[in-house]
Symmetry: D2
């Protein structure tokens, strides 16, 4: 919830947890926060200082290690009066490029100790400009390559999904007539899906991705790891002769990229500078892609048909929390028209989507929020529905219920593993669970009903849920 | 679920998780497993070896650090054929004193690689006896002190809740006429609560605990940290003149104890040896304690009255999963007659109780299982109810619903923090949620109904739930 | 040696160590490398993959944790063919801002396994531009403050000691008539010490430093932490009314700064941009500082007199490895005329200076190298003298021998600790030790002899050592 | 020095280091301490509490992580008054089975804060008995196997080199007529080398070791990992039909053993109990081994001849610090007659031997100390010679000088790596270096001179050094 709140609001998320156990309960979600570079300060209570050496109940032992691979930094004050110092540091560090979560453990008895006034005055006054930009010489190399390319292409990742990045990517695509792909495993949607340049999402296996890029001679990527593959493959990363340039604000991503000329700096700033620098070309427009028509028949509907029905109903400025793996090309069937429109669990960590939808609504109350969630994904944290009710967050929940663990089923097929009983998750009455948490819910009888339900969501004041029977 | 399964069955729990995110989702529960010294092997999938350097989707970065403060050991095989070697090591280490969870990350592509046959043959054949016992000389010192004591007392912790420990503690209490206390913050119940020697649970604040022990001259503790305090206090740990002896199988607990003569070795074995060594005494019996009569009035019932109603209905051999903080002296009102009867989240990590009840039922199908869970505690993992249905585990769930976060409310009072809105968690229809997951549920109208419901649970084949309105 | 090699040559240092023990032997030095942001790849051998699970002799257990707080990243390949992938990543990451050491463990049996050819081809071709620069808007704020200041001052840290930074700092100081201080605890010397703007090094206690800065209204700092204090003080960091701006390429330094407006980006680039942006001012020149005359009397000489004798003999382009704590204002008495002239152990970790001198000579054979080392500091790694002989590195070693642990003596005085016997380290015959390692050595009888010895060093082909008796 | 002091004295070593850099300088040695299970408390100074958040000079950042894989526990007090609590815990934990080093970081300003008197009183009074012993049932299995064996063998590791273990091993060997091997890579020498049962040290390659053990049907091991191999081999660990039993006090060693029936408990106690339980047998005596005669010719001597010359001169109760890899069967040529006689760097970490010799002398002033050190090994920490002089520790240093890195040369041959220039370490005048540090030194002209020099060492009051030219 805090992660999505931070993404939607553009501020730093702040989360207060209960010692080690509370931190533990949040760590699944934290993998997504880390992978999405969301700035979130995770603060956890610690036992009283006197009790920590005894490992008293609720001691967070070796607190600075607890979230180690998931946070940029973890701290615990050596003195009570350093708690504000570390909190300020945590806030600033979370929001420095590359953004991400940080962790702070504060003993119980620190809260009634006095702070150092001079220190706090300095802390309140200090600022940090921590989004450094690419060196011009490095960007020039990329710009030259674009100019000289016969058949260039642009790849966009989550780091480009800012207002500046989104509009600059459109400008660059139009000036240079660039086809635009979304990087694989995308937690955000950084380009309008109805734009003629839009070519969909790159495949997540190294070989299949290389096949797509083999049609081009120069690839320019902004705000994406190179690449966030998923499906195992031992194929080569890129055909010989294809040159790849990439801009990222994460030096680790840069060093990890197995190919290319990587430039470290703010990707949105770079997009804007590159868009200004390139000339208009008269290269032919890239081909327009149209998703295949979906089978509309029921009573259990195809995932594609459900997506189309949702898209017909939703407004262009909707924010979508997505945790549903049943459809190929899921993002292509949704109309994305502006930045900050689509949010997915960046590490693939399940249980993120339902509370994320509530976080989006809290973080950006001006835009309608839609949750597209699978029946399995919903079971991790159904109590998020209660939070939506309690805080009057008018999320439109669309729960697609195919009564199975479909993502794992697909993986089992890919890996030639025989289907096991653990894939069948039938037996949950989704509507009853939702009503148990106070959310009005019903089961769709037709696709039109889905469209109407989503369309009506724009003017609601309370959360509502529709369960859609899926094949 | 795996934790409680291991505790109930006396075997090693085994848990397979999905990379970093799946591990993260389990880490709240893992804090309890660590604190209770439950032997559990946590195995997590890792991305394909070739993809790990790229941080491909679902890579578990620096996997051996992910659970660091919570596990005894973490490993990832450097070669596919070492996966069985590390798994065998993990199993053996989890089950060595002091027991606890271990972590093993295995890459996706290891599973279809051949193992080394000679190695596997050795692994299958090897064994470990890893519960060393106390040195006799050290035990003798404890025995001598008991003999010479004017007013000795026994304190029992979770490490004594074995069949041998339970029966030996009774024998020792009876031979030496020892009053018996349960150590504070107890995740298990190692002594019969209806035994005349039973004196209840020690308080969890250092000062209050010292006050209780000031009535004695010698304290002998078995299987408990010294002590697992909870409520903050700066008071002294023990009055001058009180001598404390303790036996634990955990050298860290021994080194952490701020007072006493600590002996490292299996506590149940030590109990048996001490019981054999001491002579019968004619010291007067300790006073018999009777909990105060509870207010029986409704329609919302006092926690004490609910406990009494449950106790009247339950059989003596029931196993109880407990996650409910509303009643003082909760354990005193329940009849505990044999070992392995009561299980509580050892680190205080919420969300443990509901799945733990299912794990108890799976781990020990011969004994009836009762879950005593608060309405808040139930919301972390309600899908455990679905597992109970799917695996036909006939747990009797008693959900005590006071519509508030009572533990935090008490702590707020203790710390003089004004009551906040976050304490009110009304608005959940517990029965509807349970029915959503397929469990028959209804709301109790009287205390007798609670007693009857619990009593009927002994012969059920499927889980059932009763919601009890609580003050 | 590798650290100083990298600093002197401007390339990435590369160090190969022997498993955990070899790494351990290097970890004292590594604290300096980390603190100085020197790009060094530390590679360590690991046992054969098959032996690691057994903890065979020379296994580096949990290798990725061994240097944890000291390196930016640590890795160990999951497959032999990933060793080049990780090595390439290590090189690139070490050289990304903020620069620093990284760690790579490689199993023994990986070296005769084949690499993946396509992968290696990509690795050889890829590049990274990883020194992003400050956002213009943030620099503008600093420039405006400089323009409007009545009494501004510049502070320079080690990050400004590049060719561009050094010349730009001079240009900026001259255009804006800025007095220039060196940041406290400086491992480098980023400004000419004979320049009229030079005002010496800031004190290392918070209070004393604030006193110096209270004379100014605007402080602009480049390439320094804010601040690397040393001597304990609870005083306020800065007087009210003094505004501080700082540019660093380390986001951690930025977040840690307790005061100021911090800008993340390459400090030398920022210096150049600021120098171009400010106008000439007719502010009066800052006062010229002249160190007090030193007492020249012998036969044991004052540290200041030794420094003056050395400075008279050395050439302006000498590189100096310094590990000697006996003199106040040690840097002020040495003529620094260009960048990369003075090198000190950045974390204060002793034993760095002697091998560092050899590393400087290996890394930059065109400039004469001078080592100014205390008699205590020399004892950590005297075998570096042998390396100088073996590799014909013509370092001029000046060993100042006061037969005591002077730094600790000063600290003892500061902390009112009575002088202990551990401060007396007499009894080492420095010249004999040096001769034992093959270095020509003798003991100075006069200060002129020191000057002549240093002066003669410019044209030597082999290392030479002079011991100077110090008070 | 602290490690050997603890080993020689039977007490806990205590070492005070200077923040992160001082700790780093000690970490090579610490790998040996960890591998030898020596109880040592490593305490390190930390900056003042107020300065730590700023990373002031000499801050030990994330101090509890710095020695992570090498220590059993690391701590830093959250309050000044907890420093004694953690120190007491550190001492107790270091000395609990399995013994080993622990780490404690204490801020500078804690030392003048008051301790809590009641707490300190409890700490001074508390004790711990932390060497639990094997369960009888598990030992019985081992005893039965011994009884029924046709051809049993005993293997001893460093954990059996206690007074009780040493004498019990002799008793057991004699009663059961067991041939006795020393476990590979032995840091200690737990059996008399002139005893008829003594069969030498097992080879360090898995295959060669299995070949030796194939002559037996039952192997009983005490106090050794199974096994500390060194030379890489993919051979099977043990032939089919050979049964292995082992007793260790380290649960990690037990879980890591790839073969056998492992019993956790104090190995010396187990040896004593097994020796009492087995009956006398009339099995034939194992064959007596005699090392081959050594080539006595000079002027550079064979390693074996040097060993023989040393052995002729040394007294039976000498303690030997060994760091010399030039001779096969080095331990077989030395007369070991009692426990605590031979000490080797347990992890193979170089630089340990010279200071270890001084530590032995300080820890056990009643026994003569001999240092057998290679010319290369001596160069890591020659200043230990100065400590020997300063503290009047009468070590007899025998430096065997073959002017090359012989261990690496052997490994290069084993791995078919061509010989490189880095193996030649000629050019050090060992005697001059020693004299530089104040130790009387000369170069041997004959083997008799070596014998005489060693023999004369028994009555010296100051350290002396002899350099022996070696082939």
């Amino acid at each position: 919830m805090a992660d999505a709140y931070a993404q939607a609001s553009g501020t730093i998320g702040f989360l207060n947890l209960h010692a080690a156990s509370g931190t533990g309960n949040a760590m699944g979600g934290l993998t997504n926060t880390a992978a999405c570079h969301t700035p979130v300060v995770v603060m956890a209570g610690q036992q009283a200082r006197s009790y920590v050496p005894l490992d008293a109940m609720l001691t967070n032992n070796e607190a600075i290690k607890l979230c180690d691979p998931l946070v940029k930094w973890a701290g615990e004050p050596l003195r009570p009066e350093d708690a504000p110092v570390l909190l300020s540091r945590a806030l600033m560090l979370a929001d420095s490029a590359p953004r991400g979560p940080v962790y702070l453990s504060v003993p119980l008895d620190d809260w009634d100790k006095p702070a150092n006034e001079a220190t706090v005055r300095h802390l309140l006054d200090r600022t940090s400009s921590a989004s450094p930009v690419a060196e011009q010489a490095a960007l020039d190399e990329l710009i030259d390559a674009l100019r000289e390319a016969r058949s260039p292409v642009m790849v966009l990742g989550p780091g480009a999904d800012t207002e500046l990045g989104f509009s600059s990517a459109i400008a660059l695509a139009e000036r240079a007539r660039l086809p635009v792909h979304i990087a694989p495993s995308p937690p955000r949607s950084p380009f309008p899906t109805r734009h003629p340049s839009y070519q969909g999402q790159l495949p997540s296996a190294a070989g299949a991705l290389a096949d797509v890029l083999s049609a081009y001679d120069v690839v320019v990527a902004f705000g994406a790891p190179i690449f966030r593959y998923h499906a195992p493959s031992d194929a080569d990363y890129l055909p010989t002769g294809v040159r790849l340039f990439a801009v990222t604000d994460d030096p680790d991503e840069a060093a990890r990229a197995p190919i290319g000329r990587i430039v470290v700096g703010d990707p949105s700033d770079a997009l804007a500078r590159v868009a200004r620098a390139v000339d208009h070309t008269d290269r032919p427009e890239p081909p327009v892609r149209t998703p295949a028509a979906a089978d509309q028949s029921g009573p259990r509907y195809a995932a594609e048909a459900i997506l189309d029905a949702v898209d017909r109903g939703k407004s262009d400025d909707a924010m979508i929390a997505l945790e549903w793996t049943s459809a190929d090309l899921i993002r292509d069937r949704l109309t994305i028209a502006r930045s900050h429109s689509l949010f997915y669990c960046a590490s693939g960590g399940l249980g993120w989507g339902l509370p994320a939808a509530v976080g989006l609504g809290l973080g950006c109350p001006d835009r309608p929020v839609l949750a597209l969630i699978g029946d399995g994904a919903m079971q991790y944290t159904p109590s998020a529905l209660w939070s939506a009710v309690r805080y009057k967050v008018p999320v439109t929940f669309v729960i697609c219920n195919n009564t199975k663990y479909r993502a794992l089923q697909e993986f089992s097929e890919l890996l030639h593993v025989p289907e096991g009983p653990y894939l069948d998750i039938s037996g949950v009455d989704v509507c009853k669970v939702a009503e148990g948490y106070g959310v009005t819910a019903h089961r769709a009888e037709s696709l039109d009903e889905v469209t109407d339900f989503v369309s009506a969501g724009k003017n609601q004041e309370m959360p509502r849920l529709i369960e859609v029977p899926q094949r």
